[in-house]
């Protein structure tokens, strides 16, 4: 007996091939980018020092992008994530430096505060039925004011070197520990979304709240959990931010919000196309930093980096849409 290939099975395998290509296109683009810069800068780019440097420097952005990814998955936006990062980083610094708390107590308090901020977001969004964009924007602005208040608008330096050591000075395989923290969060989140009931419920709610509700999923509880998780992860990003610099300043971390959203959307074109996913986000962040590092090493002007950042996002999402035959976007 022999297997006869029909046009239908050919079409099917072409379809599968196309889907697989779409899944790994960003990963391949990242590889190509790496090869391109290695050829242009053979002595400096393709070294372990450069790789470890790129890996070690992006942990804050990775964790912040993963923080906003949780509510994005359940169909909500958290625009307060960067403000939570800055506020918790400042709280950590002020409590450790000015109030004399131990670094352990300051870190735990910062993470708890992050969870509380997420819960406040959830309360206003779910109880008053207000769109998450409005509430998180409002709470984010409120937190910016709180940050200026507790810091007296100043940068607080002198945070315990224990934290700095745990984040950026200690290394594994030459790569600062910060990278492994970001990687661990991404892997745990991937596992939770793929293999736990809570994770599947989160995806289900994101795909269609009404359908999820009719199937017996407690939509409000899932959304509330996603806001709290987002707050805790944003606070963890704040802890890493403080550990990176050994200080906290009241405004500059706010500029991480848009890159975090860019990484999340870029990540949604990879691994599980059309779906926000942690591994895709990780690839997105490191694809972008590879481009930025290579361009900077080549001596490109600041504006070229912005062109690359914005351009890469638009091109990747547009190409992904072409492969999907321009189906309407329904991220979630």
């Amino acid at each position: 007996m022999s297997v006869v290939e029909t046009p239908q099975s050919n079409r099917l395998s072409a379809e599968i091939l196309k889907k697989e290509f779409e899944r790994f296109a960003l990963l391949m683009a990242w590889g190509l980018l790496f090869i391109l810069f290695s050829m242009l800068l053979p002595d400096t780019f393709m070294t372990w020092r450069t790789v470890s440097s790129m890996l070690g420097s992006q942990a804050v952005l990775v964790v912040l992008a993963l923080a906003i990814l949780v509510p994005l998955t359940s169909g909500d936006f958290d625009l307060s994530a960067a403000s939570t990062l800055v506020f918790t980083a400042m709280f950590l610094a002020v409590s450790n430096v000015n109030w004399g708390w131990s670094i352990g107590a300051s870190v735990i308090a910062a993470l708890l505060l992050g969870g509380f901020i997420g819960a406040v977001n959830a309360f206003f969004v779910l109880y008053f039925r207000i769109h998450s964009l409005i509430i998180t924007l409002g709470l984010g602005t409120f937190l910016n004011g709180m940050t200026l208040w507790i810091s007296d608008s100043r940068t607080i330096a002198g945070v315990s070197m224990k934290l700095v050591e745990l984040v950026v000075i200690k290394r594994l395989l030459g790569v600062p520990m910060a990278f492994y923290y970001g990687l661990a969060v991404a892997v745990i989140m991937w596992w939770a979304l793929e293999y736990t009931i809570t994770g599947r419920k989160l995806l289900f709610v994101g795909r269609g709240r009404e359908v999820a509700r009719l199937n017996g999923v407690s939509v409000d509880r899932v959304r509330a959990t996603s806001f709290a998780a987002s707050g805790i992860l944003a606070a963890l990003a704040g802890v890493l931010y403080t550990g990176m610099t050994g200080s906290a300043d009241p405004t500059s971390g706010l500029s991480l919000l848009l890159p975090a959203f860019a990484a999340a959307f870029l990540g949604a074109t990879a691994i599980y196309p059309g779906r926000f996913n942690p591994v895709g986000t990780l690839v997105g962040v490191y694809f972008l930093i590879t481009g930025i590092t290579g361009l900077t090493m080549l001596g490109a002007d600041a504006f070229v980096q912005s062109l690359f950042y914005g351009g890469a996002l638009i091109v990747a999402v547009s190409l992904s849409q072409l492969v999907r035959k321009r189906q309407p976007q329904n991220f979630g």
């Binding site: 600062p176 610099t245 500029s255």
Partner: protein
């Protein structure tokens, strides 16, 4: 003979050229050291203008100051000092509290016109060009317009501005260049980090490059331009990339010292513990970093002095007197040897002495 002569001439030339770099280098080192020495002593007050009776002249005058953003501690301290000076003289001085939004600056100008102030001052880095229509309207309504702590002395002020209390950013550039040259024993390979979107950055960076070029024409400099709103996202990655691209970089000069907090992790991640860092502004948390050795040097300026000098310029405009071209604020080097004089923890005004207060009071006829 000819051959001999040629040999002798060549030999003499070779000996001369071999000596030249040594002598030029020695001169350069002495020159750089002299620049640093001049900024290591606590400054004395030298009046830049002629004395006048400030109380009489300012009796019916008032000043309305619009800082770029009162969420920035630098602006808060500068405003406090200006208010102290105004209270000393006894005229009405109002600070327009805002958080850096252009609509609130516009609202400030409108308030000043509506309430018949005598002078509008835009302070702490706010570019008057951004409020040109409103400030022209203020001028038409009879108000004077000044800027404080914005332009470098080499820069021209906007045509509708009556006077500007300018800052000697080029001098700060000379100090940073001299410091990097001396600290690297005459072999600097410098990464300069600036923000071209901040008005005085261009002459500041130009001066660092020019000075280093004079000390050692073959020395390498590399410039990283990072717009202010991208400091948190671009300084660290840009510094790391520069260090990886040229592993010979031995000094980093972020021109504004708040940049240093993003350079520090880049040095740690890139494993560049032997690379030094020096900057300018005298911001307290950076002075603390100088004290603990994370930053090697910070050029500071007394904001108390700057506030008095700014008010001096404003009063001279309103009194019809000639206005000095510069704020004349002395720059002081803070390194490991004197960082504690800036306070523990550091503040904006310690370490510079208080000679300026009695100096200005005498200049204004408030004390004999």
């Amino acid at each position: 003979m000819r051959f001999h002569g040629l040999t002798l001439t060549t030999g003499a030339l070779a000996a001369f050229s071999a000596m030249m770099p040594v002598s030029a280098s020695a001169d350069a080192m002495a020159d750089a050291q002299a620049v640093l020495d001049a900024h290591r002593v606590v400054p004395e007050f030298n009046p830049l203008g002629s004395p006048f009776d400030a109380t009489a002249c300012m009796a019916d005058k008032s000043v309305f100051s619009i800082p770029v953003n009162m969420a920035i501690p630098f602006n808060v301290e500068l405003q406090k000092a200006m208010r102290r000076a105004a209270e000393d003289v006894g005229f009405t001085y109002t600070t327009w509290e805002n958080q850096g939004a252009s609509d609130s600056w516009i609202q400030g100008v409108n308030q000043a016109i509506a309430q018949d102030y005598s002078l509008i001052d835009v302070a702490g880095g706010l570019n008057p060009e951004m409020l040109a229509p409103q400030l022209r309207e203020a001028k038409a309504a009879g108000l004077a317009v000044t800027t404080t702590h914005l332009y470098d002395e080499s820069q021209e002020q906007a045509d509708f501005v009556d006077a500007s209390a300018k800052v000697d950013y080029r001098r700060a550039g000379e100090i940073l260049a001299a410091w990097a040259f001396v600290e690297t024993a005459g072999k600097p390979n410098v990464l300069i980090i600036g923000s071209d979107d901040v008005l005085p950055s261009i002459p500041f960076v130009e001066q660092i490059k020019e000075s280093l070029g004079e000390y050692c024409p073959d020395c390498k400099t590399r410039y990283l331009n990072v717009p202010v709103n991208e400091w948190a996202t671009r300084i660290q990655s840009g510094t790391q990339s520069a260090l990886l691209a040229d592993q010979g970089i031995n000094y980093i000069l972020p021109i504004y010292d708040s940049m240093t907090q993003f350079v520090t992790p880049a040095l740690r991640i890139a494993g560049a513990s032997n690379v030094g860092m020096a900057s300018y502004n005298g911001t307290p948390f950076v002075l603390d970093m100088v004290r603990d050795g994370t930053v090697q040097m910070d050029v500071g300026e007394s904001l108390g002095w700057a506030g008095y000098a700014a008010v001096d310029a404003q009063m001279r405009v309103l009194c019809g007197l000639e206005v000095p071209e510069s704020l004349g604020i002395p720059l002081l080097i803070f390194d490991a040897s004197n960082a504690e004089t800036a306070g523990v923890p550091a503040d904006f005004d310690s370490g510079y002495g208080d000679g300026h207060i009695s100096g200005f009071r005498k200049l204004w006829g408030l004390e004999g």
